[in-house]
C-alpha cells in the first residue's frame, strides 16, 4: 500500500483509452465498475473534444457481482459492435474488473463480431500505469494489424533510401502523438510543416487521427520518427526489428535538438547535408542573446516531468537560455536511464520518482528560482512561492490552449522562450526591488507583469517544514525534529541583512549562511556572518 496525494499517471486503462480516443474507427470495450466513466471527462473537458471517447463501459454494480458479469461483458461487446461498427475493437479491464477475472478478451474472441479485428489487452493495473498502458495498447494494435504483412524472417530490410530509386520524396511516419499528451496537436502540425520545407513527406501520423487502415500503411514509410518514446518507443523498436524500419530517436524540442533531429533524419534517409540557419526560422536564439535576457544567466531552475520533456527542457534551459539546472527528474521509470544520463551531463543526480512529496522535497532543497514541471509541480511551487511553467503531462485544461502552441521545432522554441521567461520577474523590476524596498505597490515578491497583487511567499521553507505540513510520509523523523543544539540561530542584525537579499534568492542565501555558520562553529548569525558566507560561496 502506498499513500498517494497526487498521481502523475492514471491507471493503464486510461492509457488504452488515450489510444482509442486519439484514433478514428477504433472502439474500446472496458470492463469496469459504475463510476469509471469519469475518464470521459479527460477528453470532453480537458481536451475539449466534441464527441464522446469511443469507449463502452460495462459499469457493473454490486448487485451484478452476484450474477453473471461475463454475460454483461458479452452484451456490452455485442451492443458496442452493433452500434458503432468499429474497424478494430479493443477489449480490456479496469483495476476492479481485473480482480473478478471475467477474461473479457477471450470472451470477445469466442463471439461472432462480423470480422472486425479484436485486440485483447492485458493491463496489469496494480503494477503498471498510464503511459505503459498507452504504449502497450498501441503496440498490440499495430502488431495485430500488421501481422499479415510481416516479412519472412531473413528477408533483407528495405533500404531507407529507396525513395530515390522510386523517384519520390522521402517519407516518414510520426509515431506517438496522442490526446492528453503535451501539445501533441501542434507538435504534429509544426513538424509536418518543417519536414515539408525540408523535402520530406509525412506518411502516417499515429495514433492521433489515424484509422486502423492507416496503421496498415506504416511499413510503406522509409523511417519512423519516435516523437514520444513513452507512447511509441515499443512500437518503433518492434517495427525496426520486424520490418527493418530505422527509427529517428532525437526529440526535436529546442533549437539544438531540432538541428540534431534534422541531421539524424537526413543521415538515415541518405539526404544531403543542408546548411541550417535556425536564426531565420526561430526567434529563440536572438531573443536569448539580446541584452534583455542577460539577467536570465544562471537562474536556478528545477525540472520535472515525463522523460521526453524533462530531458529536452534540461538541454534548452542550460544551453539555450543560460539557466543553471539545479534539479532534474522524471516519473517515467521506463526511461529512467536516459534521464540519468542527461542529469549526469549536468553534474546532477536524476530524481526518478512518482512520489509527489519526494519531488516537492527535492524542489524545496534545490531552492530554484523557476520550476519547469507538470500540473502537480504547480501545487508545490505555489506553496514554496516559486514561479512555475508547465512543460509536460499531466496537464490541465489551460495547457490545451486554443492558440498554436507547439513545443517542437522552430516555432516550438519560440513558445518555450515565452512561456518559461514569462513567470520570472522582468529584469527592470528585479533591479528596482533590489534597490528600493519600501515601495507600497511593488512590494517584495510582487511580479507586476503578472497582474497579481499578493506577493509570493519566499522560498525559504526548509525541506523539513514542507514534509511536516504537507501531511504525508516524508523524510525520516529526525529530519523533522531539528536537534536544537547544533543549529545556529539568527540575531537581529543577521535577520536585517537577510531581508535585504532579493526574495527569489533569499532562500538559498539563508541556507548557505547557515551551512557556513555550522562549518565555522558559529552559534549566532549576525550581519557580518552573512557577508562572510556570501564571499565564501562565491569564491
Amino acid at each position: 500500500m502506498e499513500l498517494t496525494l497526487w498521481t502523475y499517471e492514471g491507471p493503464p486503462h486510461v492509457g488504452a483509452l488515450r489510444i482509442a480516443a486519439s484514433m478514428e474507427g477504433v472502439h474500446l470495450v472496458l470492463h469496469a465498475p459504475q463510476g469509471d466513466t469519469y475518464a470521459d471527462l479527460l477528453f470532453t473537458m480537458i481536451e475539449r473534444r466534441q464527441r464522446r471517447p469511443p469507449v463502452t463501459y460495462t459499469t457493473f454494480q454490486a448487485r451484478d457481482l452476484g450474477g453473471d458479469t461475463a454475460e454483461l461483458v458479452k452484451r456490452s461487446i455485442q451492443e458496442a459492435v452493433d452500434r458503432f461498427q468499429p474497424e478494430a475493437l479493443l477489449v480490456g479491464e479496469s483495476c476492479t474488473a481485473e480482480l473478478i477475472q471475467d477474461q473479457p478478451g477471450s470472451l470477445a474472441a469466442g463471439m461472432d463480431l462480423g470480422g472486425a479485428p479484436v485486440v485483447s489487452l492485458e493491463l496489469p493495473a496494480y503494477s503498471k500505469k498510464e503511459n505503459w498502458g498507452a504504449a502497450e495498447t498501441f503496440y498490440q494494435l499495430v502488431r495485430h494489424l500488421l501481422k499479415a504483412q510481416m516479412p519472412a524472417p531473413g528477408t533483407p530490410p528495405p533500404s531507407p533510401q529507396r525513395w530515390r530509386a522510386e523517384g519520390r520524396r522521402p517519407r516518414v511516419n510520426l509515431l506517438g502523438p496522442s490526446l492528453l499528451g503535451f501539445r501533441c496537436r501542434d507538435d504534429v502540425r509544426e513538424l509536418t510543416r518543417l519536414l515539408g520545407a525540408e523535402g520530406i513527406d509525412v506518411g502516417v501520423v499515429a495514433p492521433l487521427g489515424a484509422r486502423p487502415a492507416d496503421l496498415a500503411r506504416i511499413p510503406a514509410a522509409d523511417a519512423n520518427v519516435c516523437l514520444y518514446p513513452e507512447v511509441a518507443g515499443s512500437v518503433c523498436s518492434w517495427l525496426e526489428r520486424r520490418f527493418g524500419q530505422p527509427v529517428v530517436r532525437t526529440v526535436p524540442i529546442g533549437i539544438g535538438a531540432t538541428r540534431d533531429f534534422l541531421g539524424e533524419l537526413r543521415q538515415v534517409l541518405g539526404m544531403e547535408e543542408q546548411p541550417m540557419a535556425p536564426e531565420s526560422s526561430s526567434q529563440l536564439p536572438w531573443y536569448s542573446r539580446s541584452v534583455d535576457s542577460t539577467y536570465l544567466t544562471g537562474k536556478r531552475v528545477f525540472i520535472f516531468g515525463d522523460a521526453t520533456h524533462a530531458i529536452a527542457a534540461a538541454r534548452v534551459a542550460s544551453r539555450e537560455l543560460g539557466f543553471e539546472v539545479v534539479g532534474l527528474g522524471s516519473y517515467s521509470r521506463e526511461l529512467a536511464r536516459d534521464v540519468r544520463a542527461a542529469a549526469r551531463e549536468l553534474g546532477l543526480e536524476a530524481l526518478i520518482s512518482d512520489d509527489y512529496l519526494e519531488v516537492e522535497r527535492a524542489m524545496a532543497e534545490a531552492m530554484p528560482e523557476l520550476v519547469l514541471g507538470t500540473q502537480m509541480e504547480r501545487h508545490s511551487a505555489k506553496r514554496l512561492g516559486i514561479p512555475c511553467a508547465v512543460i509536460s503531462s499531466p496537464l490541465h485544461v489551460q495547457d490545451v490552449p486554443a492558440r498554436h502552441a507547439p513545443q517542437m521545432g522552430w516555432e516550438g522554441a519560440n513558445e518555450l522562450f515565452d512561456s518559461w521567461v514569462h513567470p520570472l520577474m522582468m529584469g527592470l523590476e528585479e533591479h528596482l526591488i533590489g534597490m528600493f524596498r519600501h515601495d507600497f505597490e511593488f512590494v517584495e515578491g510582487h511580479r507586476s507583469h503578472l497582474g497579481g497583487q499578493a506577493p509570493a511567499e519566499p522560498a525559504t521553507a526548509p525541506a523539513s517544514t514542507v514534509a511536516l505540513a504537507s501531511g504525508s510520509p516524508g523524510p525520516a523523523s529526525e529530519e523533522r525534529t531539528p536537534v536544537g543544539t547544533s543549529d545556529p540561530s539568527w540575531d537581529p542584525t543577521g535577520e536585517a541583512e537577510l531581508a535585504k537579499i532579493p526574495f527569489f534568492v533569499r532562500g538559498k542565501v539563508r541556507r548557505n549562511t547557515e551551512a557556513y555558520a555550522r562549518e565555522q562553529g558559529l552559534a549566532l548569525i549576525d550581519g557580518e556572518a552573512l557577508y562572510a558566507a556570501k564571499a565564501h560561496f562565491s569564491a
Binding site: L3, G35, T44, T58, T59, G471
Partner: protein, 436 residues
C-alpha cells in the same frame, strides 16, 4: 404549457417510473470527497483503493491548487492483493504515518472503493482497530464511496451515516408527538449547505421562532449535533436515504417536505418545519411572505428566457426531481424526461406530488438509448454530466452541466434567482454568440 406558481397538484396520480439498465454515465461516491473536505477542514479522507480512484479524485478536484491536501489514496499493490493480513498491517502503518505528520487531523475517514470491497478488505474493522489504538486522539470512521455501491451524492449519504452513531444522544423524549414545547425540540438540517446559505437559513428559522437549529455535517467534524426523540429532521438534500433512516431509528422525526430549491420549494420546506414546531402562523408568514415575493421577482427575468422551453434531465445526483419541479412550476419549462440514478419514493413523496401528471420519469440508465431519446426529442436544454455536455453541444443541443449544482449555493428563497440563472445562462449565451 406555462406551468403555474399557484396551483398545487396535490391530487396528481402516482407517476410511473421507467426503469432502465445498461451503461451508466455517472460518478462514483468517492466524488463527494471533493465538497465534504471543504465542509469539514479538520477531517482527512483516505480512500483505500487503486490508482484509478486516486486519478478520479484528482481529476475532479484538479483545478484547485492545494498547499495542504486533505485527501489521499492508499493505493493497493500486488502484495496487498496477495495477502489481506498484510493489507491490514500496511493500512495501520500508513495511517500512523499520516497522523504523525498531520497531528491536527481530528477525524479520519477511511473510504471504501470498488477494489477494496471486491477483495473484501474490512474497513469497518480497520476503523475499530485504529480507534482503539489511537484512543480518542483521532476518530476513525469508515464509509463506502465505491462505484459498485454508490452513485455520486450517495457518497455524502454514506459519510453522514457513518457519523450518526457518534452523535450525542439528546435528553428524553417528549410525551407525545407535538406535545413537547418548541423549546425542548431541536431542528436538525441534514445535508451539506454552502456556509452562507446555512447561516441565512438558521437566522430565518430564528426569526420564525425556532431557536435551536443544528446542521449535519457540521463545520467541525467533532462538533456533532445531538440526536434523539426531540429532534426534528429537515433534509436539505434528497439523496440522504440511509442517513434519514438511521436518524429516525434513533427516534428523530423526519419532516416531510419538498426540497429547498426555488421559491416554492424553499418556502414549503421552511413552512413544514414551522408547522412541526407549532409556530404562530402570522409570525411565519411575516418571515416567508417577503422572501417569496422577492424570490419571485428574482426568478422572473430568467423565467422569460426559460418559459416554454423543453427540458431533459439525465441521471446524476438525485436532485433531478426537485430541479424539474422548480423549472416546470416556477420557470415554465416543459419536462421531456426526468432521469434519476435512484428514486427513494418515501423521501421524494412531496416532490412527486408537485410534478405534473404524465411526467416521464426514468430511474437508472442505458446511456446510449437515453441519448437516442435526447436526439429524437431535441430538447431546448439538457441537464447532464461533463462527459456528455460538450459532445451534445457539438450536436447543436444546449446543455447545463449538472455537477455545478452540488458545488453552488442553490438552496433557499434567496437563491432561487441564482438557481434559475444557472439554467438560463446557457440559453442566453447561445443567443449572444455571433461569428458572422
Amino acid at each position: 404549457m406555462g406551468g403555474s406558481t399557484t396551483v398545487a397538484a396535490a391530487t396528481a396520480p402516482a407517476l410511473e417510473v421507467r426503469r432502465e439498465s445498461g451503461q451508466r454515465e455517472v460518478f462514483c461516491g468517492l466524488t463527494s470527497i471533493v465538497w465534504l473536505h471543504r465542509r469539514m477542514p479538520d477531517a482527512f479522507f483516505l480512500v483505500v483503493g487503486s490508482r484509478t480512484c486516486a486519478h478520479l479524485i484528482q481529476s475532479a478536484a484538479g483545478v484547485m491548487i492545494f498547499a495542504e491536501p486533505r485527501f489521499g489514496t492508499a493505493i493497493l499493490g500486488e502484495r496487498d492483493l496477495a495477502g489481506l493480513a498484510d493489507a491490514n498491517e500496511e493500512l495501520d502503518r500508513l495511517v500512523a504515518d499520516l497522523l504523525q505528520r498531520r497531528p491536527e487531523i481530528r477525524t479520519l475517514f477511511l473510504v471504501g472503493s470498488c477494489p477494496s470491497e471486491v477483495i473484501k478488505l474490512d474497513l469497518a474493522k480497520a476503523a475499530e482497530r485504529l480507534n482503539t489504538r489511537l484512543a480518542g486522539q483521532v476518530r476513525v470512521l469508515n464509509y463506502t464511496g465505491s462505484g459498485i455501491e454508490t452513485t455520486f451524492t450517495q457518497g455524502e449519504d454514506q459519510a453522514l451515516l457513518a457519523m450518526v452513531p457518534l452523535m450525542p444522544r439528546a435528553p428524553a423524549a417528549p410525551a407525545a408527538e407535538g406535545a413537547a414545547p418548541a423549546a425542548a425540540q431541536e431542528l436538525l438540517i441534514v445535508g451539506t449547505l454552502a456556509d452562507a446559505v446555512e447561516d441565512r437559513l438558521i437566522s430565518l428559522f430564528g426569526r420564525m421562532g425556532i431557536e435551536r437549529v443544528r446542521s449535519l455535517p457540521p463545520r467541525h467534524s467533532r462538533d456533532l449535533p445531538a440526536i434523539g426523540p426531540g429532534t426534528r429532521v429537515l433534509l436539505a438534500q434528497p439523496f440522504l436515504s440511509a442517513t434519514a433512516r438511521a436518524l429516525t431509528a434513533l427516534g428523530a422525526q423526519l419532516i416531510s417536505a419538498p426540497y429547498p430549491l426555488g421559491v416554492e420549494g424553499s418556502a414549503a420546506w421552511m413552512a413544514a418545519a414551522a408547522a412541526t414546531f407549532g409556530l404562530d402562523d402570522a409570525r411565519v408568514a411575516a418571515v416567508l411572505d417577503p422572501l417569496v415575493e422577492r424570490g419571485r421577482r428574482a426568478v422572473a427575468p430568467h423565467r422569460e428566457i426559460l418559459e416554454g422551453k423543453r427540458l431533459f434531465l439525465l441521471p446524476d445526483s438525485q436532485l433531478e426531481l426537485s430541479l424539474a419541479r422548480f423549472l416546470q412550476r416556477e420557470c415554465g419549462m416543459e419536462l421531456v424526461e426526468v432521469g434519476t440514478p435512484y428514486l427513494d419514493r418515501a423521501l421524494l413523496e412531496s416532490e412527486l406530488a408537485l410534478l405534473p401528471a404524465g411526467t416521464p420519469l426514468t430511474e437508472g440508465q442505458h446511456v446510449e438509448n437515453q441519448l437516442d431519446r435526447v436526439r429524437a426529442a431535441r430538447p431546448d436544454l439538457v441537464v447532464c454530466g461533463l462527459g456528455l455536455a460538450n459532445p451534445l453541444e457539438a450536436e447543436g443541443i444546449a446543455t447545463k452541466w449538472s455537477i455545478e449544482l452540488v458545488f453552488s449555493p442553490i438552496h433557499g428563497c434567496d437563491q432561487a434567482g441564482d438557481l434559475a440563472e444557472l439554467f438560463s445562462r446557457p440559453l442566453r449565451r447561445r443567443n449572444l454568440l455571433r461569428f458572422s
